[in-house]
């Protein structure tokens, strides 16, 4: 998440539709359209802001909080079409760093704003009266983006530029910017959440790998502290169904509870446990450590995976109506993608389970899974990028080739090998 934010802010600073000369960086106003209010994130580059205010700005904002709050209140306003002012609240003020050596590292004041329309006014139509910094620094500009708009299906932080605020050089005045967002619908939002759910898990290789590691044991049975392959397909299918169903129950429960705010757990330990869950289940596929307990394990670890899913919904800060619909849609999206993945992979694994080669394949997959999970574990504990993790990322983004490999192996077995009974 932070990498996306970093690159986006780099982009906003310097390369925009209306590119400006660098390094004078832009201000940015990012708008999240909620059901009845607007949340906005205002980025004011400190070098430019310093030129426009009479007080000295340091990186310690706590002393300057009231001055900066006053500044924002007096230079940023939303009105409705008839000129009635919205209520503007500064929720937080922080200093953040953005940029890189090539385009320059800048510190910015980042303010989270809550804007409430006057009674009767529409949330989706407003006029921005803005002259922060540019009332003094006449070449300065502010780029305005819409980031979240649930009703229009904009849910995956895909920013859209809706305007640029700057001095009109012909008149040397700053004109207000009118924003007219087209009407959306609950159905559009719901659909977008289904798509988001599908996208989230298709990119969540760690979740899929956990599921796969569990499903590797589907055609196996426990005998004398070792795995034996049992070639009855129908029994394997039943086991697959049990495992995926309990995983679904597990993650749906915590997804719901955490999105509704009933549980709140920090994301780093959750991510680490997820990596651990892959190691545990992959090891179990090598040497049985909880035989006949796969269903329970799927449910138990599913609870943890659900917590990871919930961060997406939680960060969207949806009002209750949109939240419930989003919960349903997001979960449906996850299940759809889960089913697709199982249908892509399991047939080949089941077919291969008819051959003695299955054990070898299962072991190789389990070892690779453990290696990948260890890389993720290291990254998530230390919080830095590990070189091996780049290998892992490359494999993960081309996972479809894995299906191709399974297909080729199945073909090879079909043509050359003898089935075990």
């Amino acid at each position: 998440m932070s990498i996306i934010k970093f690159f986006f802010r780099l982009l906003l600073l310097c390369v925009s539709l209306n590119a400006i000369a660098h390094p004078a960086p832009n201000s940015i106003l990012i708008v999240d359209v909620r059901e009845s209010v607007i949340d906005a994130e205002l980025h004011l580059p400190i070098p430019e802001l310093q030129l426009a205010v009479p007080f000295k700005i340091s990186n310690d904002v706590t002393n300057l909080y009231s001055e900066l709050e006053k500044y924002v209140q007096s230079h940023v306003a939303f009105t409705d079409a008839s000129g009635q002012y919205w209520k503007l609240q500064v929720l937080t003020l922080n200093v953040e760093t953005t940029g890189n050596k090539a385009v320059g590292i800048t510190n910015e004041i980042v303010a989270q704003l809550r804007l409430v329309p006057p009674p009767g006014a529409e949330v989706r139509h407003f006029i921005i009266r803005y002259d922060a910094i540019m009332d003094k620094v006449v070449n300065h500009r502010a780029l305005v983006y819409v980031r979240q708009d649930w009703e229009k299906g904009r849910v995956d932080k895909n920013h859209e530029e809706v305007g640029v605020i700057s001095i009109n050089t012909a008149t040397m005045k700053i004109e207000p910017l009118t924003i007219d967002l087209k009407e959306g619908s609950k159905w559009t939002g719901f659909q977008a959440m289904i798509r988001l759910g599908m996208k989230h898990i298709s990119e969540g290789t760690d979740h899929l790998l956990f599921l796969l590691a569990l499903l590797l044991t589907a055609p196996l049975f426990y005998n004398n502290r070792r795995w034996e392959v049992q070639p009855v397909i129908s029994r394997s299918i039943v086991k697959i169904l049990k495992i995926s169903f309990s995983f679904t129950i597990g993650h749906s429960l915590t997804l719901a509870f955490a999105s509704l705010g009933w549980i709140r757990i920090a994301s780093q330990p959750v991510e680490i446990i997820i990596a651990a869950s892959i190691i545990v289940t992959a090891f179990h596929a090598l040497k049985p450590i909880f035989p006949n307990g796969e269903t329970l394990v799927a449910a138990a670890f599913g609870l943890v995976h659900g917590l990871a899913f919930s961060t997406v919904l939680y960060e969207m800060h949806l009002a209750s109506g949109q939240l419930l619909l989003s919960l349903l849609g997001f979960n449906i999206g996850i299940e759809i993608m889960q089913i697709i993945v199982i249908f892509l992979i399991m047939p080949w694994l089941l077919f291969l389970s008819l051959y003695s080669i299955y054990k070898t394949i299962k072991n190789i997959i389990a070892v690779i899974a453990i290696a990948m999970a260890l890389a993720w574990m290291a990254e998530r504990i230390t919080g830095t990028e590990i070189l091996f993790a780049n290998f892992v990322k490359a494999i993960a983004s081309n996972a479809i080739l894995f299906v191709v490999v399974l297909f080729i192996l199945s073909l090879y077995c079909y043509l050359t090998k003898k089935q075990i009974n």
Binding site: L17, A19, I20, A21, I364, I395
Partner: protein, 476 residues
Amino acid sequence: MKIITLNNRNKKKLVFPLILAGSFSLMSFLVYKDYGNLLVSENTFVTPANLQPKKSAAAYTVSSVVTAAQAFKALLTTTQIATLQHTYTATLGRKWSNLPCGSGCRNGIQFSTLTAAQLTAAKAVVQEALGSADNQGYNVFNQILLADDYLNANGGGSGYGAGLYFISFLNEPSATGAWMLQVGGHHMAFNISFNNGNVVGTTPVMLGVEPKTFTTGGVTYNPLANKHDAMTAMLASLTTAQLSAAHLTQTFSDCLMSPGESNNNTNTMPAVKQGVICSGFSTAQKNLVIAAIQTWTADMDSETAAAIQAVYEGDIDNTYVAYTGSGTSGSSSTFLTANTNYVRIDGPSAWIEFVCQSGVVFQSQIHYHSVWRDHVRDYGADLTATTLGTTQMVSNNVQSIKLYPNPSTETLTIETATALAGASIELYDAVGRFITSVKNASGTTVNIPVANLAAGNYIVWIEQGKQVSTAKFIKN
């Protein structure tokens, strides 16, 4: 020799190593595909070291630029030509930038995609179109390329470099038709408009440099020093009272009119003049303003430079000078020294800005940005102008003509010494475009409503039989 037979047992033994080998090759392939570029060394493009300009003996003509342009195109593939050349639209004309944003904000073909021969030919086009004096035109172009290579090698990284500059043609280069040459990249933009065998637009031009002075290959360069010093000399020559009138309270962290698409693509030049008007200056002071302007116009080929310089000189009494920052009259070293120090020359046509900015790569130094625009001639007014100045409009001036008020706002009154009879009066703007006419004019006084005209210089052309008389006026 034992022949290894491929029976079932051996086959079984092969499977595992085969799968291992296969997976390993697959992994390596995937990694290389995604991360292979990490293995390639960074931008290795190097500008030629020779910066000595070729002193062209032949007089400048548009056709020499066109010849060079066609010679360049002849070396390109069809795909390259499609990248290089597009049909002119107002949007494409305005697509230029100061940022290191590559092809996202510029037209044309990138230098680093050209072979050595193609690049030489591309630079020959630039050399033909630009001035040849030291620290002007083609020489400044090369110095700024070197500065970008210097930034690349000294902390700026692969986002900078001479290879990241572009050349673009809008419309087919032609010795008679309308087309535009665009050259630019980080800290540089030239947009030269041609039409009717003339240069009809020399602007917008953006020139910047970081660091402002640097040494490479044993030579020290200071590409914008002459522009900077001409501006500080001009400011230092003003009296304390004049400096007071010229001082702006606004802050400029960059030039106002750069680059291509500012102001939601309207790109409108300011209508109100700020600062102190030069009409009250002494001759010496006016000459310093003119000399400062000349360090920009001299970036064009000598003929064009002379023509546009003549226009700007003729406008001197209606030109304004403005600046920010502190500075003492008589002391040029106190001007344009710190971040946001800014100076502007704004006339009926000329618009030149120069600003000092904190460095991006060298953050403890300041660096320079400058912009040259023209209220009338930017983009050759979208390639419709047919001449740069009014020199092409020749008359035999038999009549004595009086125009008042001048400058005019609502109505222009034309008074002739001898009465007109069935004369035709035509109005042209400063670049030779026809505006309006009065047919069959008679008498000694003719009134022309001018309220709807854009502000600027105009020519009145009175034709009676074989007699042609012209006079100029300014619309406010």
